[in-house]
Subunit: 309 residues, 2 copies
Amino acid sequence: MNLQQFRFLREAARQKFNITAAARALHTSQPGISKAIIELEGELGVPIFARQGKRILGLTPPGQQILLAAEKIMQEVDNLKKLARDYAGAPSGTLRVATTHTQARYVLPPVVQKFARKFPQVRLKLLQGNPPQIAQMLVNGQADVGIATESLAETPGLACIDIYEWTHVAVVPPGHALARLQATPGRLTLKDLARHPLVTYEAHFAGRTRIDAAFAEAGIEPSIVLEAIDADVIKTYVAAGMGVGIIAGVAADPAHEPLIVLPCGHLFGRNVARLAVKQGAYLRGFVYSFIEMLAPGWDKRRIEEAFAP
Amino acid sequence: MNLQQFRFLREAARQKFNITAAARALHTSQPGISKAIIELEGELGVPIFARQGKRILGLTPPGQQILLAAEKIMQEVDNLKKLARDYAGAPSGTLRVATTHTQARYVLPPVVQKFARKFPQVRLKLLQGNPPQIAQMLVNGQADVGIATESLAETPGLACIDIYEWTHVAVVPPGHALARLQATPGRLTLKDLARHPLVTYEAHFAGRTRIDAAFAEAGIEPSIVLEAIDADVIKTYVAAGMGVGIIAGVAADPAHEPLIVLPCGHLFGRNVARLAVKQGAYLRGFVYSFIEMLAPGWDKRRIEEAFAP
DNA sequence: GCCTATTACGGAAACCGTAAATATT
DNA sequence: AATATTTACGGTTTCCGTAATAGGC
């Protein structure tokens, strides 16, 4: 029994029991993985993979439990490596932040700049994806922290803290019919919006859930003419006159925006942007620092408490 | 990095960083352990042992964390082995029960008999010790379940369930001055007892704590002339006229006892015998069966809930 | 001087990659 | 026929035990 076998087993499971794919992912040979797992089965005396001849269908019941144990072990090994690097020398390394466009474009820049100044030897990687992908990256250990409004709190195996609240805004070009509400945005209604073609986020993104829910509850079916991942694209099309945009408030600065910005908090409610890490993961010192910079008021002690199971 | 290194590290820590002792315990060579740990340090890039020349003093700060991770990993490996054996074939194996004399002599016999009938292929080992030793055996993985009244609930890293309540009794030879209270045992007082030399358990055993506490609270200092680990010894000396015995109620059956038995629940309160396992340990099927036999009313589901963190 | 940890060394075993064979769709 | 898994094989590396050396107390 050795760690290599656990690593192989974990990867094989992640690759849906395709050993060839696992070999590619781990930069090793396919027979090596096959043999290692067969040896593990031999040593334990139980089959792990349910096979039909040479086809692997999935896990046997004991195989499921063994995989679970293997994942725990590998997580501890990962933690061990990280903490060793933490103590080994200068805080060099890589901070991998999985996040959405909204955060990366409008929220993170000042934080990232500050972080880069404080930890010049830490490489920063921004991994963009939609919230479910972000959650998956955390679970798989491909990212250290994830930031998004959706998915994170609902994904088992992750630990979250709330960072900030935000609300949606509608954006229209100057001269648009709704522009007259600029002085009294509180009077904007769902019906007003539904009278125009809408441009907003794709499913899963930045509170899109809330938008759909609000219209559904009011029994109104808006016509969404364009869906995009990011507010920049949405604003571009709004400026081109394609319709009314609904975007996250953080993505629109009324002062510097050529478009008219109409707050919509009263229509779509409040959203909470959250930061998540994998439960049980060891966090290197600079990860705590990053979180502290992003969410003022959280220090290492409070963060640890929030992440404890 | 490999499991062997973790195994060696754990044992070295258990042996108070005496590598020679660890080698003996693991039936391997001392240079092997030394080298394995040095290699681990090299790979991680941090010292694990605080050394003064060639003397190992203890753990460095990162070493403490590494040891923690190593112990978690080894626990998972142990669990893996056990669950594999569980699925591998007939439920053969060994059930190691750490317990005190009181339990082994008066409580466990019927349970053990029943268990042996149901699982003829499981070898049973009764490991006797005092409660702190029992707790230690569980923590070290040298025993699967522990049963005792004291220590278990207070030891971190163990998970407990209550099995039964019991109270103390006083035993005196026929004709003793206190024998006249046999019809009205409720009138027995601490003062009555303190007027005679007492024979009871050693510290740490079977509710001795309670006995001392009760006398201390009443401001009475009893004269304890003899302390023993087990009720058999105590009863022997009581029969010989050395004094009044105070023992666990389960250890005295009034019907078959040559001695007079006087219940003392009103003097020393109630005690709870507990069963404990190591937190996070995998329990083989027959371990659950054993617990169910010992503590009727507990099924596998309830036990798992009680042991969950 | 005795005990303990580390270094040196050599044989055995394990590991891992290429190549071939075999099973599955 | 094409793809995927397992078996076969061989070179390299790692492992581990014995023997020797160095370092505390």
